[in-house]
Symmetry: C2
């Protein structure tokens, strides 16, 4: 509505930074139409240069005013649109174990457009109970619930050995995006998007930075012979 | 030991890709000293160009042989060293709720050098129980357990409102790296590294790619007036 449409390529790091800006601004309770935010404030978040912030925002069409900064609401709205948080993504969640339970209970997803429409488990002891406010279905009902809710996204929190078979089944049932928390890689047909949630990336970054504290040079794997 | 040491700057995306290579190779049961892996195989993992793989590995001192590829074991070992997975990172985990429980129970951390030496909760109903094989201590004992185990890393899986006070206390107790799963940003002194685990980054990426499927151009926030 009154906005141009353009195909637009967003790199992973850029996208990640936008999520951080969005999250940070979304946390602030004082946000109203007049609230301003500076590129320096956003840069501090990620301990980086404010030039990067200005680039990131300019690339999605948001420009600040010198000395006044950005209108916070405009930044939030632009990120919402570009990342698709303004749309509703109906998702099913497979696996009602510890991790599945944590995901089912997480209320923050709403801000990102995610709506969980069904939780599934193959353990009959869990079927029929409620987890994080969601009814737990038997995995036998996967296709029915996906179709009934027109779900396109699936969140997998199941053991590695069941992931691939499950993914195949979900794709046949019409799922086009898989958010995989299982510790395995998946093979899917073209047109299906998989995001493999690698919780250890964060750990890796911490471990890396801890060993790179001043005075502790990092051994680089390079033969000196 | 026979390797040069050099300070070495690793960008976030580079680091993330290295973790993926490491994880992928670590999953393969057939790995031995003779196993080879090609840059094409690794590139497929992340649906990207194999030139990127060669750059990523060259930057950490690993070079392949034309037509033969890389020695898989060498790739694994180089990543282990560069990312510090060959060291033991003793960590405490605060918060024995759903997410804390999932983290406490996750066995995969061992491959990355993480050893959880204590789980804490302020809920007296949980103190003294076992979660994911770990004894749950009262948060009153934080300082004692950190000191006794010489822990430098803390994993926070607590509600947003308690994160900052807890972080302050942990830093005073000698923690220099915080892996924060709480939905909030933290302020820490220089020299302390924080990694804010943003589970929604993965969701953002999925949502973004789903709306960017062929034929559905992305609205860019840009006024056309």
């Amino acid at each position: 509505m009154g906005r141009s449409k353009a195909k637009y390529e967003l790199g992973h790091s850029h996208l990640e930074r936008l999520v951080h800006y969005y999250h940070f601004l979304g946390e602030r309770v004082d946000l109203d139409e007049t609230t301003r935010v500076s590129s320096q404030q956003l840069a501090q978040l990620l301990t980086m240069d404010d030039t990067q912030v200005r680039k990131d925002l300019a690339a999605i069409g948001v420009r600040g005013v010198p000395r006044l900064g950005y209108r916070a609401a405009e930044v939030v709205e632009a990120i919402r649109q570009v990342l698709g948080f303004d749309q509703i993504h109906r998702a099913i969640l497979v696996g009602a174990g510890r991790l599945g339970g944590a995901l089912a209970a997480y209320r923050g997803f709403v801000k990102y457009g995610l709506r969980i429409v069904g939780v599934f488990d193959q353990d009959l002891g869990k079927v029929g109970t409620t987890i994080g406010g969601h009814f737990v279905y038997s995995t036998n009902e996967l296709e029915t619930v996906i179709e009934r809710n027109n779900a396109r996204l699936a969140i997998l929190a199941v053991p590695a050995e069941t992931c691939q078979a499950l993914a195949d089944r979900l794709v046949r049932a019409g799922i086009s995006g898989i958010w995989n928390f299982g510790p395995t890689t998946l093979t899917v047909p073209d047109g299906v998007v998989v995001r493999h949630e690698h919780i250890v990336v964060g750990l890796a970054e911490l471990a890396y930075h801890l060993q790179n504290e001043p005075g502790s040079p990092l051994p680089v794997s390079q033969d000196t012979e």
